[in-house]
């Protein structure tokens, strides 16, 4: 069941799910904010400002211009039937109320009665033209000027004038500026914050993915990650999950193959050994029969070959198991000299049968190496087997200890014709391959010193 890993999204220029698009939106927002957001801010400032402050006049000292004008008209109307000193008194009061204001009044005869404070350019006696010129000059200028005729309904010809600096009626323009700066600054901070959050989010998801890849289950395969989004990182996560699925499938296949191989080895072993067993049984039976010398000779050769074949099968299967990692070594501190003695004791009858001289000179002290017991025995067995098979004509096997290249080494010596000239050395190959594998796996070292006089094999502990 093959499942295609999702292809990476072919990047359209703008796709809602793309990280590029998302970031473009953020950048675009930050560019648009000056022409679009600024006016919005201004308008909303005014609207909200008015709403917040309720009556804008509250900000002003005397209310706005029309309030002052209404006040001035009312004051003029109150002057009905008042004497000049009374009017003067009242105007003094008003001056006290509005200290920034300039006040004067002109009676019905056209004479200027009071100037608070005294002002330049005010005629003592007003001609109609003066009045017109004054009015004309005062329209829409600073100071703001109010002219009110006195008396009820402001019907008299005497009039009073109030002049006030216009800025008293205007809201100070400087109030808005820091607000704008604050808003721009806020927007900038917002933009930076959003960018940082955006990238942090990406970074966090990537780190999450990374840690998910590092985490492994008991088979050394990472667990699948949860898919949250469908953007590029989401695609990466999906691809990652697909890869894990593939790993699981291949792992299962590998286990199946391993089991198959193991049962194949077992069956092969059985199938190969069964005929060999039958053959050796019948060969044994033949020995009991009357045979010529030639027949006996042939029989012993065949018997030899049958046992050789059996060993070969054993080594071949062991080697297969080792290379497929099925041969588990569990090293422990063991006295290797004792193991060597026990192994040699087992081999002794065979050496005797081959009429070999056996020289065992192992000290009684313990040499504790960290080795796998069965593995170490196998090394010795294969080496001894090799000597019996290929160097027995030397008639000697020696087992002793020696200092070799500064290390204490176990020495196995024979007086055969040397490895390179040994007959059928090729056949012994796999046994020695197993020896070398075990030597390496157990952290030991092996050196061979071979000549036509014989072979010496040094085994030493590599660690230390």
């Amino acid at each position: 069941m093959k499942k295609a890993i999702r292809k990476p999204r072919e990047s359209k220029w703008f796709a809602r799910q793309s990280l590029r698009s998302q970031y473009l939106l953020i950048v675009l927002g930050s560019f648009l904010f000056i022409p679009v957001v600024m006016p919005i801010v201004s308008v909303s400032y005014i609207v909200f400002g008015n709403m917040m402050n309720g009556n804008p006049k509250d900000d002003l000292k005397y209310g706005n211009a029309s309030d002052v004008r209404a006040m001035w008209y009312a004051a003029a109307a109150e002057m009905e039937g008042k004497s000049t000193p009374q009017i003067n008194l009242r105007l003094h009061e008003l001056k006290a109320q509005y200290p920034e204001a300039s006040i004067f009044w002109v009676n019905s005869a056209g004479a200027t009665e009071l100037e608070l404070p005294p002002q330049a350019g005010i005629p003592d006696l007003w001609m109609p033209s003066d009045a017109v010129a004054f009015m004309k000059k005062s329209v829409n200028t600073d100071p703001y000027t109010v002219v009110a005729f006195m008396g009820k309904d402001n019907a008299h010809s005497s009039f009073m004038v109030l002049q006030m600096p216009r800025d008293l009626f205007e809201r100070p323009a400087t109030i808005g500026t820091p607000v704008y700066i604050a808003i721009i600054f806020t927007m900038f901070v917002l933009f930076v914050t959003i960018s940082i959050l955006f990238f942090r989010h990406i970074q966090r998801r990537l780190l999450h993915l990374q840690s998910a890849m590092a985490l492994q289950d008991e088979h050394g395969i990472p667990k699948p990650v949860e898919l949250r989004r469908t953007d590029e990182i989401g695609g990466l996560e999906a691809a990652f999950n697909g890869m894990i699925e593939q790993l699981h499938i291949s792992r299962e296949r590998q286990l199946e193959e391993e089991a198959l191989r193991k049962s194949l080895i077992a069956n092969l072993s059985h199938d190969l050994r069964t005929p060999l067993t039958v053959m050796s049984g019948h060969l044994y039976g033949l020995r009991e029969e009357a045979l010529s010398d030639r027949g006996r000779n042939s029989l012993s050769i065949v018997q030899d070959k049958v046992s050789g074949l059996s060993e070969l099968i054993d080594n071949l299967l062991t080697h297969t198991l080792m290379t497929s990692g099925r041969y588990q070594l569990s090293p422990e501190p063991l006295d290797v000299l004792r193991l060597a003695r026990e192994s040699a004791a087992g081999w002794y009858p065979i050496w005797e049968r081959e009429n070999m001289e056996v020289e065992v000179l192992l000290p009684e002290e313990a040499w504790v190496w960290n080795v796998d017991k069965a593995g170490f025995q196998r090394i010795l067995d294969n080496l001894f087997q090799n000597i019996v098979r290929h160097a027995s004509q030397g008639g000697y096997i020696g087992l002793f200890v020696e200092q070799h290249a500064g290390r204490s080494a176990l020495v196995i010596a024979d007086r055969g014709t040397g490895i390179h000239s040994e007959s059928g050395a090729k056949g012994a190959g796999i046994g020695l391959v197993i020896v070398n594998y075990l030597i390496v796996e157990m952290g030991l070292g092996l050196e061979t010193d071979s000549s036509s006089e014989g072979t010496r094999i040094y085994i030493y502990e590599r660690k230390k």
Partner: protein
């Protein structure tokens, strides 16, 4: 007395020559083609020879069942399988293990060792040179003068240990640890002293021993 062996083997050719060979060595053989009825047939048998690769129940399962039914009867595993872990699995209940192809004489030798070791063994004496050893009765008779040889406790244990491993070389460590039940210390002369006294009692000429052989550098051996 005839010793009966239970032999479980599915291969006709191997089975027939093994049975023939065992009968030639005076053993009575019950041969089963599968392990299914093994537990019923085990009665009156002194030893079980068990093949690993069997139709139906495999040899390991059969062996474990047999060990439950008759724990005192030794089991010799006979197998064409060589996988190392098989060997370990087998030895948890099996008393010995022989891989095919085996030498028929080796099979007989292993059977004899196992029978001698097991308590069900009849009191047929073991003959070593001029000695007759009755293991079941802890008796050693010198055939030269028909006198019984009396050994001290340790001497007897050493001798019996070597008799039980007839033909095998046992190292000093193995003998010492088996007899004294503690680990052997280097340079310990105790064992050598005991062997010297033992030889004085059993050998015709203690100066050139025939029964207990010294294998230089390795250990001692009694040959059958």
């Amino acid at each position: 007395m005839i010793t009966t062996l239970l032999y479980i083997e599915d291969d006709q050719e191997i089975g027939s020559f093994v049975v023939e060979h065992l009968r030639a060595h005076q053993y009575e053989v019950k041969w089963l083609r599968s392990g299914d009825r093994a537990t019923e047939e085990v009665e009156n048998c002194s030893l079980i020879i068990l093949d690993v690769m069997l139709p139906g129940l495999d040899g390991f399962t059969v062996g474990q069942r047999l060990k439950k039914v008759a724990p005192s009867i030794p089991i010799l595993m006979l197998s064409a399988r060589t996988a190392i872990d098989d060997k370990l699995q087998g030895l948890q209940f099996a008393d010995d293990y022989v891989t095919k192809p085996f030498h028929p004489d080796e099979l007989i030798a292993r059977i004899e060792v196992l029978l001698r070791r097991s308590s069900t063994f009849s009191n047929v004496p073991t003959n070593v040179k001029h000695l007759l050893v009755y293991e079941a009765e802890n008796r050693i008779v010198n055939t030269d003068n028909e006198e019984e040889i009396t050994l001290s406790g340790k001497q007897f244990h050493i001798f019996m240990y070597l008799i039980r491993h007839l033909g095998q070389i046992m190292t000093k460590e193995q003998i010492y640890e088996s007899v004294w039940g503690e680990s052997y210390l280097e340079g310990d002369k105790t064992l050598m002293v005991h062997i010297r006294y033992l030889r004085e009692k059993i050998e015709r000429d203690p100066a050139s021993p025939e029964i207990i052989e010294t294998i230089r550098g390795l250990g001692y051996r009694i040959r059958g």
